[in-house]
């Protein structure tokens, strides 16, 4: 038992006589896991700080009658016992399975079974009974395995079995508490609760909703809500993300839908399409039925988390009753069903007639990369038109502004880098409803590393405002002024990173000069924020490393210039291209990033969204293909559970579209369900929901991830890429000979530089997705952009003058 040589910062520990080498600070449990040694756990959750409550994970130091909870005990060397000299350290050596350890675990499980219904744990028929069998034995009603919704998916069941407990040694008392079934998405049956606190910990530590807490003490301790209110009560703070349900090891917290349906027949791993985070989700299926959705622990962007949209509302769009199931052709005022052949013929004719610069194409951010690729190919190759743009880009000047400064308009870092930041500057839309999992990362930073959270908004967002250490509520529409004020402070107080600027930034002199004329007291009276607070915010952001800027583009407000100013701030303080410090921009709609990458965007402002609408008005553009649905993002407010709010496009844009589109000779819409576009369209082609198709999405951090179909296409719906292929083929093109989404993707990899090293095979084997640029098949992907040089032609970033 002497210290073995290990690389610096690596230590070794003997676990069951097996030498395991891990980084210093690793717990014994993690070390054992890394070596494939099983230790039972109940309160441990990989998403949470270790807690040390269930004591299931005890191990025994070699040769001593002592027990260590391995989930909270570091595997680091320990002081040698006398007679060794003081200060000598030796590697630990532990046993995970001595008779004493097993006996202790059995003792604890025995106690646990005195409160937990345990027919499912000790009945001698458990191996014979199926989940839906009628209970034949003398197991009391509340105790039967078949009445537990978690039967056979229960961690306690597994631990009991592995530990070898087959009888209940102590008197048992059922709690006989009422089942709390008043909440919208899940039920709480605290008769089954083992008080592991995982639900409360995830809610407080990670999600930041603080909706539940442990109540009472001793063996009456149980999770509870404020004043025992239902979670659907707005005062509870619950955002219905379901993280507690996913954390619960037993049947105490279970999804309402398909509660007793039992085990899945198969699972499908896919990515949520509801926002630009791209949470990886496991969809549990029973035949053609979606049982439940579980966020995937391996998910590169979400690491086991999700929000209400992904967890409980994923199938909502698929199940919409007003979905288009067959193509429709408009004759006079009514839209009549038609066959695909007829509809395709109709479109082909119209497009052939209105080709070249008379044709335009607009897609939303719901199109997959494959869809987007074929769409732009149709426009450019078949139609010979460059009039192609997308809705997210039209709504978000951020993409261009950032591209002007650093070469590409996309978040520079991984989403999870936010959680490491010492200082976070937050602006924009209500992240907790638009991109919830990013909001959790902010909360983690505040909670785990005491980050300073500077929230700069003109609306109150309950969760972010509460977590903020500097909650700055601006006068309406003065965001830009505020940021200029911050820049002013940064220059005046010399908080700039001179070395970084000299090496990597140009145009600094002109920015410095334009900042000189700013007067802080003017900024202060305009924004309603005192000079002190502006200074405090600037100092915190500029002097903390790592730092993050988090900006959720809000389509409903004028956001021109904000991204440029934010990028300026990051550039002058060294807050970008610098390890975990970065700028995070979140756009509305799930694949907003992918469609830019793939080229469903104009190469020139001459062909952008505005130009297209102008062209329609002036009669230069006569045909338009509109692809995708209009809601910019589905957002959720706990206060209005019934009517889930769908944020449509900003009013001004809706009016403009309504006035402009009727001027077209021909409008075709590829759509899931009715919208103002489909109402005006000459032809409507029905498309699959994202649950019904294969493909890839690229999230805000450039992570290219697979979406996989869990359901058969409804009615006669088809995926967009297939529709486009059929239109093009119908029009005589031989270039659209794709057999699957995968073959479309191969073409993308051939043509899109940043996606070069990718293929469906690779994305299927690297389950967490890969972040572009991926120049070749061996390249691991690029979590952080601009580390050595910026993506501009010169390699230098260019700050934007005010």
């Amino acid at each position: 038992m002497t210290t073995t040589e290990a690389p610096p910062n690596m230590i070794t520990i003997m676990i069951d006589n097996q030498e395991v080498t891990v980084p210093r600070g690793t717990t014994i449990l993690e070390a054992a896991k890394s070596a494939g040694i099983y230790i039972p756990t109940l309160c441990w959750d990989p998403k949470l700080k270790a807690y040390g409550a269930c004591r299931m994970c005890v191990v025994q130091p070699e040769g001593r009658r002592q027990f260590l909870a391995s989930c909270v005990t570091p595997a680091d060397p320990v002081p040698a016992p006398p007679p060794a000299e003081r200060g000598t350290m030796v590697s630990q050596s532990v046993r995970t399975n001595t008779p004493e350890v097993v006996d202790l675990r059995k003792g604890v499980l025995g106690l646990l079974m005195s409160e937990h219904p345990h027919g499912c744990l000790t009945c001698d028929r458990i191996t014979h009974c199926g989940p839906t069998d009628i209970c034949l034995r003398n197991v009391s009603v509340t105790d039967r395995c078949v009445v537990c919704p978690q039967n056979q998916r229960c961690e306690l069941q597994a631990v009991v079995e592995i530990t070898g407990v087959d009888e209940s040694i102590y008197d048992y008392g059922y709690r006989a508490l009422p089942i709390r079934d008043e909440d919208p998405f899940f039920d709480r049956d605290y008769n089954l609760c083992i008080a592991c606190v995982r639900c409360v910990r995830v809610c407080n530590e990670v999600v930041g909703a603080d909706a539940i807490s442990m109540v009472q003490r001793g063996d009456r301790v149980l999770p509870g809500t404020p004043f025992d209110l239902p979670l659907s009560d707005a005062a509870s703070g619950c955002i219905h993300c379901g993280a507690c349900v996913d954390a619960c090891p037993v049947g105490a917290l279970t999804e309402k839908d398909n509660k007793w349906a039992g085990l899945p027949s198969h699972t499908v791993t896919t990515v949520c399409d509801q926002c630009e985070i791209g949470c990886q989700l496991t969809v549990e299926m029973q035949g053609e039925k979606v049982l439940r959705v579980v966020p995937d622990l391996d998910g590169g962007a979400n690491g086991g988390l999700a929000c209400v949209k992904g967890k409980f509302q994923l199938t909502d769009s698929t199940r919409r009753e007003d979905r288009f199931l067959v193509p429709l052709i408009r004759q006079n005022t009514s839209a009549n069903p038609s066959s695909w052949d007829v509809a395709l013929g109709f479109i082909s004719d119209a497009l052939t007639k209105n080709n070249g610069e008379k044709f335009a194409l607009i897609t939303t951010g719901t199109s997959s990369n494959e869809d987007a690729y074929l769409l732009q190919k149709l426009a450019r190759q078949v139609q010979g038109s460059n009039n192609i743009d997308n809705v997210p880009r039209a709504l978000s000047p951020a993409i261009n502004e950032m591209a002007n400064a650093v070469g590409i308009g996309v978040s520079t870092n991984e989403i999870k880098d936010i959680s490491k930041s010492k200082s976070i500057l937050f602006m924009g839309a209500d992240l907790n409803s638009t991109h919830p999992v990013a909001a959790y990362q902010i909360h983690k930073a505040v909670n785990y590393v005491d980050a300073d959270l500077i929230s700069v908004t003109s609306t109150t967002y309950p969760e972010i405002s509460r977590a903020a250490t500097q909650n700055l509520q601006l006068n309406n529409g003065t965001e830009l002024a505020f940021l200029r004020g911050m820049l002013k402070v940064v220059f005046d107080e010399d908080l700039i990173d001179q070395e970084f600027i000299e090496k990597r930034v140009e145009n600094i002199q002109s920015l410095r000069e334009s900042v000189a004329s700013i007067k802080l007291d003017v900024v202060s009276s305009e924004t309603g924020i005192s000079v002190d607070l502006i200074q405090k915010a600037a100092r915190s952001y500029a002097s903390s490393t790592p730092s993050s800027i988090v900006y959720a583009v809000d389509p409903s407000s004028d956001s021109k210039g904000i991204a440029a100013m934010l990028t300026n701030l990051a550039l002058v303080t060294g807050g970008v291209g610098n390890g975990s410090s970065g700028v995070h921009i979140f756009l509305p709609q799930g694949n907003s990033q992918g469609i830019q990458d793939i080229g469903a965007a104009p190469r020139d402002t001459e062909n952008d969204f505005e130009a297209i609408l102008d062209g329609i008005e002036s009669g230069n553009i006569t045909s338009l293909l509109w692809v995708g649905d209009l809601s910019t993002s589905t957002s959720f407010t706990p206060t209005s559970l019934e009517d889930r709010v769908e944020q449509e496009l900003p009013d001004a844009m809706i009016t403009r579209l309504k006035n402009t589109l009727p001027k077209l000779e021909f409008l075709a819409a590829v759509s899931l369900a009715p919208s103002i576009i489909s109402e005006l369209a000459d032809v409507v082609l029905p498309t699959t929901s994202f649950m019904e198709r294969d493909g890839t999405y690229t999230n805000s951090e450039r992570r290219v991830q697979r979406i996989r179909a869990s359901l058969q296409p409804a009615g006669e719906t088809k995926p967009v890429w297939e529709i486009v292929k059929e239109i093009a083929t119908n029009m005589g093109s031989a270039e659209f000979d794709y057999s699957s989404a995968s073959s479309v993707f191969d073409d993308i990899a051939n043509n899109v530089e940043t996606y070069k090293g990718l293929s469906f095979e690779r994305l299927d084997s690297e389950f967490t997705g890969v972040q572009w640029p991926v120049p070749d098949t061996d390249h691991p992907g690029t979590p952080t952009l601009h580390n050595d040089k910026f993506s501009t032609a010169s390699g230098l970033a260019r700050v934007t003058s005010i």
């Binding site: 109940l42 270790a50 807690y51 040390g52 409550a53 269930c54 004591r55 299931m56 005890v58 027990f67 909870a69 909270v72 005990t73 570091p74 004493e100 202790l104 003792g107 604890v108 025995g110 106690l111 646990l112 005195s114 409160e115 040694i169 102590y170 008197d171 083992i194 008080a195 606190v197 807490s213 442990m214 009472q216 003490r217 001793g218 063996d219 009456r220 301790v221 005491d450």
Partner: protein, 568 residues
């Protein structure tokens, strides 16, 4: 320019002398929360009333309690040039007579007197120090109790207070620590860890660092921390300041139960006076040492006395223990290095520093230095608190000092160290000294000094049930063995008490106890089974009569007819 300590001291001495020598009789009412419950306020009002009516000029002062709970309310009268007479069992009814008799008629009323204190004698009244309750006592932390107005800074300074802080501030921090180290002062919170050794972990820890002062005192039957805070808060505060200087503490949190109303109020007043005198805060006494003290009145939860739960509690969280490592010295309150000490431990510091570590060692015995501040309760004539040198014989403590049982029966045993302690039968205990190791070996740890004496009227099963019920109610519910184990042991004992038990129940209690001892996260769960183990070890026959003969020898458990009693 802040005042120098010499100036502060000069003012304090002058104030003190003026008070002592003002020529009129002085009357002390020994007042703490307990005596107030026995009517101390009413007695004081009656005294004032009498003085007014009789037009007597005398000074009435609230002083701290000297611990004679058995003789509450205690009043002292000092006539000029006469020794101080201490009267017990004073009531609003008998006090007018006493005042008139002694002050006006010069009859010292030996019938009410407990004894005289200080120089000189009075005919017919014994010296208080010869009273059995006082013979053994050796006041160190209690030295000012009953002699000064609690929390009065001038009084405290006039008794020599804060001169040790003044001296420490001129010394190297490490030298101060060494002096305490040489005394082998062990933590009085129960775990007996050598104080100065624990401080060592803090010496080089980065700022800001904190000192948590543990005055939670949740044990049933312990009231000595409260006694210090109530009767002489400045001793504690000086101890805190010297320790804070030694470890370089930026802020001390004094965690004290909010129900200790008197203690909280007197501590707050004392801290306020310290702030006024620049003895706490920025640049104390003009040195470059700055430190803060915050009195935290907390909701009562026994578990919040556990050091890591206390830290959560100070942070405003639900108080539940944290796993260790990281230890408090690395990651304590708000994640900063934190040292935690009991109120009593810190209160010893000024005296040890004044007289030296060797002096402290000379008081106790080698393995247990200094004095033990005991909470005495149960079936004894003299209940209250008392400070005795370690190493005295238990027989003397129990039979002489406490004056035997109140019930008149013989002693059955002692329950020591509160609900997490243990106990033993009187036969095994009576020839032992009051020392840590021998008592520990017997399963009757001294803990933080709580001793509950048991007469024959106590049923051991019932007592164990009560203490275990306390543990079950106070378990925080975090870790599984303790959360379920405490309650389950209670239910099992309940069976024994109601005649429903079987012999196997005793094995079950032991097995559950082992699970808790080995598996629990914190001291509560680990130590809770000690009480059952000790009581089963020393009083097995009593358990067996409940189980086999279905009788309760002490006649407490009723007729064991199998009717289950429900406990809330």
């Amino acid at each position: 320019m802040p005042e120098t300590f010499t100036e502060i001291k000069r003012t304090a001495d002058a104030t003190w002398n003026e008070w002592v020598n003002n020529g009129s009789p002085r009357i002390f009412v020994q007042t703490n929360a307990d005596s107030m419950a026995s009517g101390a306020i009413e007695v004081k009002e009656a005294i004032q009333d009498t003085l007014d009516k009789q037009k007597i000029s005398a000074d009435v002062t609230v002083v701290g309690s000297q611990g004679m709970a058995f003789a509450e309310v205690v009043v002292d009268i000092i006539k000029p040039d006469k020794p101080r007479i201490t009267y017990g069992n004073v009531t609003p009814e008998n006090v007018p007579g006493l005042i008139v008799d002694y002050i006006v008629k010069d009859d010292p009323r030996p019938d009410l007197a407990l004894g005289t204190q200080g120089e000189g004698e009075i005919d017919g009244i014994p010296l208080l120090k010869d009273h059995p309750f006082w013979k053994l006592q050796y006041p160190i932390v209690t030295r000012n109790f009953g002699h000064i107005e609690p929390g009065n800074l001038n009084h405290y300074i006039a008794q020599g207070g804060y001169s040790m802080l003044n001296r420490a501030l001129e010394m190297e921090r490490e030298d101060v620590r060494k002096e305490i180290e040489s005394s082998v002062l062990r933590g009085r919170g129960g775990a007996l860890f050598p104080a100065a050794t624990k401080w060592n972990f803090m010496m080089n820890a980065p700022h800001p660092k904190y000192l948590a002062v543990n005055g939670e005192e949740g044990d049933a039957g312990a009231f000595t921390d409260k006694a210090i805070a109530e009767n002489d808060p400045h001793t504690l505060l000086e101890g805190i300041l010297i320790s804070a200087y030694t470890m370089g503490i930026d802020k001390s949190f004094v965690h004290i139960r909010a129900e200790y109303l008197v203690a909280v109020e007197r501590l707050r007043r004392a801290v306020h006076e310290l702030e006024e005198a620049n003895l706490v805060g920025e640049n104390i006494l003009g040195t470059d040492f700055s430190t803060e003290i915050e009195i935290e009145a907390t909701g009562h939860a026994y578990i919040c006395g556990e050091e890591t739960a206390l830290m959560d509690s100070v942070e405003g969280k639900r108080g539940t223990p944290r796993p260790r490592p990281p230890f408090p010295a690395a990651y304590g309150i708000f994640g900063r290095p934190t040292n935690i000490n009991n109120v009593k431990t810190l209160s010893y510091v000024p005296a040890i520093f004044e007289h030296g570590g060797e002096w402290f060692k000379s008081i106790g015995v080698e393995a247990a230095t200094g004095t033990m501040f005991l909470s005495l309760s149960g079936d004894v004539k003299h209940s209250g608190f008392a400070e005795v040198p370690l190493g005295v014989s238990l027989r003397e403590v129990v039979e002489d000092m406490c004056g035997g049982t109140k019930s008149g029966t013989s002693f059955k045993g002692i329950q020591t160290g509160g609900p997490l302690g243990g106990g033993a039968d009187w036969d095994s205990l009576k020839d032992l000294p009051l020392e840590f190791d021998p008592l520990n070996g017997l399963g009757a740890p001294v803990g933080s000094g709580g001793m509950m004496m048991l007469g024959q009227g106590t049923c051991i099963v019932d007592l164990t049930h009560n203490l275990m019920q306390f543990n079950a109610a106070e378990s925080c519910g975090k870790c599984f063995p303790c959360r379920k184990g405490t309650g389950h042991i209670v239910r099992t004992i309940n069976r024994v008490m109601t005649g429903l038990g079987k012999m196997e129940d005793l094995d079950e209690i032991v097995y559950m106890g082992d699970t808790m001892r080995d598996g629990s996260l914190c001291g509560l769960g680990q130590l809770a089974p000690r009480i059952t183990t000790a009581m089963l070890r020393h009083f097995r026959s009593e358990w067996e009569s409940h189980l086999v003969d279905k009788t309760c020898p002490a006649g407490v458990c009723g007729n064991l007819d199998g009717q289950e009693i429900t406990f809330s």
